[in-house]
């Protein structure tokens, strides 16, 4: 068996490497920037460095997501021991000019400068995304150099499993996948469960349209997820873990597969991790396009190679999960919070955010908003700050109408509630949910009944078909919404729609069905006049 990785030696080596050149060019190589042409940009810089013999002066480091996806490709010039300059919309030619100008003349290039003093950057607090734009996701050394795997080492060598759980409990961390169940309690349940085999599952089946924080974590910081899983498994007594990733994320699958191999080689996974008695095998399992597989019991069915239909609970997964063994499922973002908590302590984490919703939350800002991209803010930040300051408000002189959170399981929050702090309870009171963190801004051109119909179509298509209310109810709700949005609806249709909202919410088997009416319920609550207008118009026409 090879010797385990020496974390401190790697850190030293990386520090030397960092100071080797006077300039370091960090270029975002995350999916959004790549689609905006980052590949060519990076290639151009690398070619130039080689052609013009600048290797001793400049090193190019592809990194994970820098956040402001709408301004990609993003690039950062870093001077040894000194200042950083960020650039936006960096084309290959611009990149060459920027590098030359810095290296030869110590001059920035004004036209592509990115203003990092704007609230988009200054109002964020990055815990989960701390390594975004910093490390090279393909190199474990890069992760280690920024404190990676220190938490795992600390847990394995100086903490008992119980202490690890206690630290998580103290942090107040709640599940980031939607419902916000206390993570410490979930871990205790698995730790208390009997049996020889126990499983930990990372839920990377990020299906909410509009949310891509889990993808970003898996692609850009895969070792952070692996470290979180390893700590969770150590704390709960599991020796096998799965990462369930949706097949729509091939890059995440590739990066995770590779990161797992590298971690195993470095004795951070596998048998006798870091020469302790703790062993853990981690395997990636791939979905195949089914939103419902984000639901815990459906996810397990899918891992077992079956149709992803939810099962009745109880028994809960921590009692009877994968192949009948106790199983704990945590969301990817949840697990990405684990290493920092163990590293810096539960009290530190609990000091961020609000009393009941601690820590930070990553949101994917999209829709009718100036700055689209991934942001991370303390829980309790107001929607107004997120939309108007960080997001830069609604473009094209239009006005804000609603923010959609929680995807097809969530709701639309109108302007009058913009000052609501974003936390689990406040969002639920408004008829929405935190969900996984998609936040889609809609301007005054968007018709809310259309939005409700859009989500109902989604839920209808994604219903597994097992239970009647969800399978047949979503179809009928979609029929009614179609009729209403076409202007052919009647008062009776509206009444039937409202009744079906309750039927499907209260009678469905799993969370998908139970929450499928939420977009309708919330738009009816806040934008009822739009539905009525569609109906009244038609009645006038008939008259």
């Amino acid at each position: 068996m090879a010797a385990p990785i020496d974390l401190h030696e790697v850190m030293d080596r990386e520090r030397e490497e960092r100071f080797r050149t006077r300039w370091r060019v960090k270029a975002c190589a995350s999916t959004a920037c790549m689609s905006a042409g980052a590949g060519a940009t990076i290639q151009a810089v690398e070619d130039m460095v080689e052609r013009e013999d600048m290797e001793l002066e400049v090193q190019v480091i592809p990194t994970g997501c820098m956040g402001l996806c709408s301004a990609g490709p993003l690039m950062r010039m870093m001077r040894r021991g000194g200042d950083e300059t960020d650039y936006q919309k960096v084309t290959p030619d611009a990149a060459k000019e920027i590098v030359r100008s810095h290296v030869l003349n110590e001059e920035p290039v004004p036209e592509h400068l990115l203003d990092t003093t704007m609230p988009f950057f200054t109002s964020q607090e990055r815990v989960v995304l701390a390594n975004g734009g910093v490390i090279n996701p393909d190199r474990i050394e890069s992760y280690v150099a920024h404190g990676g795997y220190q938490a795992l080492e600390k847990a394995l060598t100086s903490m008992k499993p119980k202490q690890v759980i206690e630290e998580i409990r103290r942090s107040g961390l709640r599940g980031r996948g939607g419902a916000g169940y206390p993570v410490g309690s979930k871990w205790s349940l698995l730790a208390a469960a009997g049996g020889k085999t126990k499983y930990v599952v990372a839920n990377g089946d990020e299906g909410d349209p509009g949310a891509y924080m889990d993808r970003t974590i898996m692609e850009d910081d895969p070792h952070r997820l692996i470290e979180g899983i390893a700590i969770a498994a150590y704390a709960t007594g599991a020796d096998q873990a799965y990462i369930y990733v949706r097949a729509e994320y091939p890059r995440a699958i590739e990066r995770l597969d590779r990161a797992i191999r590298v971690a195993r080689r470095n004795r951070l996974l596998g048998r006798k991790i870091l020469d302790t008695n703790f062993s853990l095998a981690v395997e990636v399992r791939i979905g195949a396009g089914a939103f419902v597989c984000g639901e815990e019991t459906a996810l397990m069915a899918s891992i077992e190679g079956r149709r992803g239909t939810p099962q009745l609970r109880p028994p809960y997964p921590t009692e009877k999960g994968l192949w009948g063994a106790p199983t704990m499922i945590n969301n990817v973002e949840t697990l990405a919070n684990v290493a920092p908590i163990i590293d810096r302590g539960g009290d530190w984490f609990a000091s961020i955010g609000t009393e009941k919703s601690t820590g930070t939350k990553v949101f994917a800002l999209a829709g009718d908003i100036v700055n689209t991209g991934l942001i991370e803010v303390p829980m309790g930040t107001s929607l107004r700050e997120i939309v108007e300051e960080i997001g830069g408000g609604v473009p094209d002189g239009r006005s804000f109408k609603a923010a959609q959170t929680g995807g097809p399981s969530g709701g639309c929050i109108p302007a009058k509630f913009l000052d609501t702090p974003v936390d689990y309870e406040s969002l639920r009171e408004l008829g929405s949910i935190m969900g996984s963190g998609g936040l889609i801004v809609m301007d005054d051109e968007v018709r809310m009944p259309d939005v409700a119909k859009f989500f109902m179509e989604f839920s209808m298509d994604e219903s597994c078909g097992k239970c009647t209310p969800c399978r047949a109810g979503t179809v009928q709700m979609h029929n009614l919404l179609q009729r209403i949005t076409d202007g052919n609806g009647t008062r009776r249709d509206l009444r039937d729609l409202e009744h079906l909202c309750s039927v499907v919410r209260d009678m469905s088997l799993c969370g998908l069905g139970q929450s499928a009416p939420n977009p309708v319920i919330s738009t009816l609550q806040y934008f009822r006049s739009e539905y009525e207008a569609l109906i009244d118009e038609e009645e006038v026409v008939h008259a």
Partner: protein
């Protein structure tokens, strides 16, 4: 079923290298995957992914092959394969145009793009045009919401698209419509 028949079908252990008993060597790639997974039944979805990568789609023969190899009832394999949206049972077209219909793309008009391509090439979403030149697909959210609306054409992710730009793209590869 006797052991010898199973092996003849599964065909891993005692056959000569370079020639698959089915006559189609692409099955070798499936066999390799099956073997690595030790023929565990929970490898069904992974195996179907591999099979689809290799053959481009899942024909009835392939499904039966996988079912027999994993010793699963055919109806179960069929049920699993048809449950998941990413498995396809018809040969794909020469070119694939996938329009993201996630929320951000929806807000930015993805529906019009789907309709535009669908009408121009007379191909319903999720299907392949009659001449086999174009498959039009919709995706649930590709997680590139900052670039909405997003279109993936033959594997290339393209942001900030509209109906005209997408039609130009398709026309360049497939040919224009009269």
């Amino acid at each position: 079923m006797s052991d010898t028949t199973t092996r003849a079908v599964v065909g891993v252990s005692d056959r000569q290298q370079g020639e698959h008993p089915s006559g189609d060597n692409r099955f070798d790639l499936i066999d390799k995957h099956l073997k690595r997974g030790r023929y565990a039944q929970d490898q069904l979805i992974e195996t179907l992914h591999v099979a689809q990568d290799v053959f481009g789609y899942l024909s009835e023969d392939i499904l039966i092959y996988v079912a027999r190899a994993l010793r699963l009832p055919p109806s179960m394999v069929y049920g699993v394969a048809t449950f998941y949206q990413l498995f396809t049972f018809d040969p794909p077209g020469d070119h694939a145009c996938t329009v993201c219909t996630g929320t951000a793309c929806f807000v930015k008009g993805a529906d019009d793009i789907v309709k535009g391509v669908s009408n121009a090439y007379d191909v319903p979403a999720g299907e392949t045009s009659e001449d086999g030149s174009l498959t039009l697909k919709t995706a649930r959210c590709l997680g590139s919401c900052g670039l909405a609306p997003v279109v993936v054409f033959d594997g290339e992710v393209l942001g900030h698209q509209n109906t005209e730009s997408t039609l130009e793209l398709v026309a360049a590869a497939v040919g224009g419509v009269d």
